[in-house]
Symmetry: C2
Subunit: 315 residues, 2 copies
């Protein structure tokens, strides 16, 4: 009898195999791609929750409380936290250890921070693939937690089944945070640290923005939930609201998942083409030579792309 | 005599031509690419300053003060503010109008917010191209201002000649903000709203993080500047520090500009390939069919990419 392969062990929910699979993805190893191929048919079962918001919104604590609440129903949970690591702190791994402690010994919980800092879109791609691994491993719920309000976070979170945007009262510039591209992706707003001064003002400013938008009949109007993640207050209500959203969007979940497939396909195609150009089209040192000519303004980037492109594609 | 072309008018510094050129870039129009080709040879003269930080850090006010300070030396300034617009507010244009007022009638200042929300990397690409337009138009300094701490902002700001990371005291979670990937790109830290309670604590926590890092002899150690953008306090010192940084990095500026060229080339190549696949390789409706098969788990994304790729490239 041959020992079970890595994909088999991932599908069986083995925690060490999951950790190994995630490392392959982070390393952009070809075996990572092969693994995704093998497990992909078993994905699509988990419900994907995206949680994002500016730094300091208390997302980690919120997610920890959500895990505990979901576990009460017997469902298993996988978490991928996108937390670009600083070389100064080596943050992600340390954070994992701290966070895992509150769920130590619970086999129904798997938490992993992503430290990948690849090329363009690399982080979002890797995050999506880690979510696939957790999904295939049998987790009922997969939570994708991102810090920030940039395009990349929007890309990551918009492809989840439900997008939760976390705001914290206090800095007085909540409206600015809302403006920065996250307003449009929120299915549910969470005003966390709701015991703080200014919480009601924050709720009002979100309300005011929502009131500028016309919702059609049957449209989901993003609700604003108040939580205190440190005490756990408001968390059961948040989970109930997610369940309501899930039921409301059940008829259109297919299109959301198609959008996710599209994003993934585009990203992989672009990535694959760049690798092809570097490995098979350009001669050794040619890439650097082209860069040098662009940097010195001798060649413009569009003409450079034209030249490489003509040599690369079938016409 | 034929009237001057758009590239010619951009090179002459005509404000209406600059605005028109930026619109072409935002619309991802082919004439935008053609324009970049024409003006590219005249770029590389401006000094590019990147300013980023979490929402609420007072970046707009800070940049306004920096403009005023730079203008005192007679240098002209172009600003591109990356401010992902919410469909709820239509924010960017309104904001431009407000911001331009403080420099109204000053032909040495051009400010434009970017509302582009394209595909993967589209925002960063467009921002870079707008910076090229401002550079070609003869602006001595180009400021790229981004909101957020995500990968995309990091990509945008890291390619500037100097990266300024703005932090605001108050929310009590500054360290979290620092962790989120911006620590490693900062050439200069600015603790803005330095009159606020907690400013010294914020400075200390940045200091503590810096002290974990070993700087070699001759390495630039990111200084921490305190500013009060609303009163203008600390702004002259900030500009002096930028000048010191500029002199310190003059010997290595070439490699920074090559990194910028590389980022741009990769991004354009990926973008161009995707367009080629959609326009020339796939049959009508085929892309949707592939997405459907991926969404239904009949086909995995890596195998889909293999198939499309084989049909697209010379082998």
């Amino acid at each position: 009898m041959t020992p079970p392969t890595l994909p088999e062990r991932v599908l069986a929910g083995n925690a060490r195999a999951i950790a190994r699979a995630i490392s392959l993805i982070e390393d952009e190893s070809p075996s990572g791609a092969e693994l995704i191929r093998r497990i992909f048919g078993s994905t699509g079962q988990a419900y994907l929750m995206g949680v994002t918001g500016p730094p300091g919104a208390g997302k980690s604590t919120l997610v920890d409380r959500m895990i505990a609440e979901i576990r009460k129903t017997g469902q298993s949970v996988g978490v991928v936290a996108v937390d670009p690591t600083s070389p100064y702190t080596g943050g992600a791994l340390l954070g994992d250890r701290v966070r895992m402690q509150s769920h130590a010994g619970d086999e129904g919980v798997f938490i992993r921070s992503m430290a990948t800092r690849g090329h363009l879109g690399g982080l979002a791609r890797a995050t999506g693939e880690v979510a696939l691994v957790l999904d295939a491993s049998g987790k009922d719920v997969v939570i994708i937690e991102t810090v920030g309000v940039g395009q990349d976070e929007v890309d990551i979170v918009r492809t989840a089944d439900v997008s939760i945007v976390t705001i914290v009262p206090g800095a007085g510039d909540e409206v600015q945070a809302l403006k920065a591209g996250i307003m449009e992706i929120a299915d549910i707003f969470v005003v966390n640290k709701a015991d703080r001064e200014g919480a009601d003002r924050t709720v009002s400013s979100i309300e005011a923005m929502l009131s500028l938008h016309t919702f059609g009949e049957g449209d989901w109007r993003p609700p604003i939930m108040k939580t205190e993640a440190t005490s756990g207050r408001g968390i059961p209500e948040l989970l109930q609201m997610i369940e309501r959203f899930k039921q409301h969007t059940a008829p259109t979940q297919g299109s959301r998942r198609r959008a996710r497939a599209e994003w993934r396909l585009r990203e992989l195609l672009g990535h694959r083409f760049l690798r092809h150009v570097e490995e098979s089209i350009l001669k050794a040192g040619e890439f650097e030579e082209i860069l040098e000519r662009i940097a010195s303004r001798e060649l413009d980037p569009y003409s450079a792309v034209d030249g490489i492109f003509q040599r690369s594609v079938r016409t």
